[in-house]
């Protein structure tokens, strides 16, 4: 089966519908599926729920879909970098479910691994635990969290072969593998598609079984907090 598509729009063709649930990779603006987000904006799909650690900034990442009011709900751990997000949230236009970062990552990993729920001690005794099942194991209290199964995963990797085997680069890996696993269908955008056989099978980070469609493209890869030291300190 051919997985490689000519553009982000083609790679998403037939997969988008209003009210759908999308799981997205990335941390801050690092390793986000920027081409697929742009294509979703252009497709105009509405009432989206996103499971994504962050919500981008006003004009990049998921932020571009907030500007066009395409997002109904965010499931995130931290949304502090986005003024438009805050405006919509405070005015009640946007629903927000805070998940602890590790709980969100594990919810994605579990959902994609056939695990509908798991117990964690993260958040016990906090607002996060309210309304959730509590259970003691070996004298410690844990809460039940649900696995996430999304209608669609959108992720970004560094390299892929045409069978969808993915290699990530540095901290741009972050939420991409668990996000990819959590979707019924996964579309990955990459910087380079290399010939079959040129990736070392021992160095593949995410096997192609999790990736259904692929697109190669140019990435802006914006830096959110450019921080440097003086050269003489080096």
């Amino acid at each position: 089966m051919k997985k490689v598509y000519g553009s982000a729009a083609e790679a998403l063709d037939g997969l988008l519908f209003d009210g759908m649930f999308i799981s997205a990779g990335g941390f801050g603006l690092c390793g986000i599926p920027e081409l697929l987000l742009q294509a979703i904006k252009e497709a105009g799909t509405k009432d989206l729920t996103f499971a994504s650690n962050n919500a981008g900034v006003d004009d990049f990442g998921i932020g571009i879909l907030l500007q066009t009011r395409q997002v109904r709900k965010m499931i995130s751990s931290y949304v502090g970098e986005n003024a438009e997000f805050m405006r919509q949230y405070l005015s009640g236009e946007l629903e927000l479910e805070f998940n602890p970062q590790g709980t969100l990552a594990e919810r994605m990993r579990a959902g994609g691994s056939g695990i509908p729920g798991f117990y964690t001690k993260t958040g016990v005794g906090t607002q996060i635990a309210e309304g959730k099942e509590h259970k003691d194991f070996d004298g410690e209290t844990y809460i039940l969290e649900r696995g996430i199964v999304a209608d669609l995963s959108i992720v970004k990797a560094w390299k892929a072969d045409d069978t969808g085997n993915l290699v990530f680069r540095k901290t741009a890996r972050n939420f991409n593998p668990p996000a990819a696993m959590s979707g019924k269908v996964c579309v990955a955008e990459v910087e380079e598609i290399v010939p079959r056989g040129s990736l070392d099978p021992d160095h593949i980070h995410l096997p192609g079984i999790y990736v259904h469609r692929l697109v190669q493209g140019e990435h802006e890869k914006r830096i959110e907090q450019r921080t440097t030291r003086k050269r003489e300190d080096a």
């Binding site: 690092c30 751990s77 709980t103 906090t126 540095k170 890996r173 890869k221 830096i223 030291r229």
Partner: protein
């Protein structure tokens, strides 16, 4: 003289032992990395990295290489990368020896509040709830009092909690305290700060 930010960070660095894997929070905790000296410490960044290096020199910033504060950083010879689920697996699984983080309030039972102030803009807890629940030793570094001069070491937290009974040690500008049965125990005071001064600035129960 109370400790300044750098002196607090230097004192916090004394908590770290050779061979430890450590997670440092944003703010004063980030400065702790400047004071580890010859100790073999591996810093974790919860977005998926062990062996975090210093900020890059100008021109060598890499958009694919950032820390949990979204700042550009560098890698070291020992560095490894992994996904977020693996990262929090090692945090939740107790593999990280210590977390050093800031706080708004700490209670005498070890409750910690550092993620939201009701009525103010809420940005989210990020990885803080996972870290304090999973890491073996939680060290809080913060000013002893808030800008109104009120104690941040309380009998009970007033703000929504990040974790319950999670803090082990508190390093403030006035000294070092441990969370023990019945309250907080003074371990040391900053040079020139008396125990009476530290007690007077503390609402939480101090036990001997």
């Amino acid at each position: 003289m109370p400790w300044d930010r750098n002196q607090m960070a230097a004192r916090a660095a004394e908590e770290l032992e050779d061979g430890m894997y450590v997670n440092l929070g944003i703010g004063i905790p980030t400065l702790v990395a400047n004071y580890v000296g010859d100790k073999d410490i591996t810093l974790q960044s919860e977005n998926g990295m062990l062996g975090m290096g210093p900020f890059p020199v100008e021109g060598e910033e890499d958009p694919d290489l950032i820390n949990a504060g979204k700042q550009t950083i560098t890698e070291l010879a020992r560095t490894s990368y992994f996904d977020s689920a693996t990262s929090f697996g090692m945090i939740r699984g107790g593999k990280i020896a210590a977390a050093i983080l800031g706080a708004m309030e700490v209670a005498e039972n070890g409750d910690l509040a550092n993620w939201m102030i009701p009525g103010k803009l809420v940005k989210g807890m990020g990885g803080a709830m996972d870290l304090v629940a999973g890491v073996k030793k939680v060290v809080v570094v913060m000013d002893h009092t808030n800008k109104h001069g009120d104690s941040k070491l309380l009998k009970a937290c007033t703000l929504p909690l990040t974790g319950k009974n999670v803090v082990n040690r508190i390093i403030t500008n006035l000294g070092v305290l441990d969370v023990v049965d019945g309250g907080l125990k003074i371990i040391e005071t900053a040079a020139g700060v008396t125990e009476d001064e530290l007690r007077a600035a503390t609402e939480a129960t101090i036990v001997n």
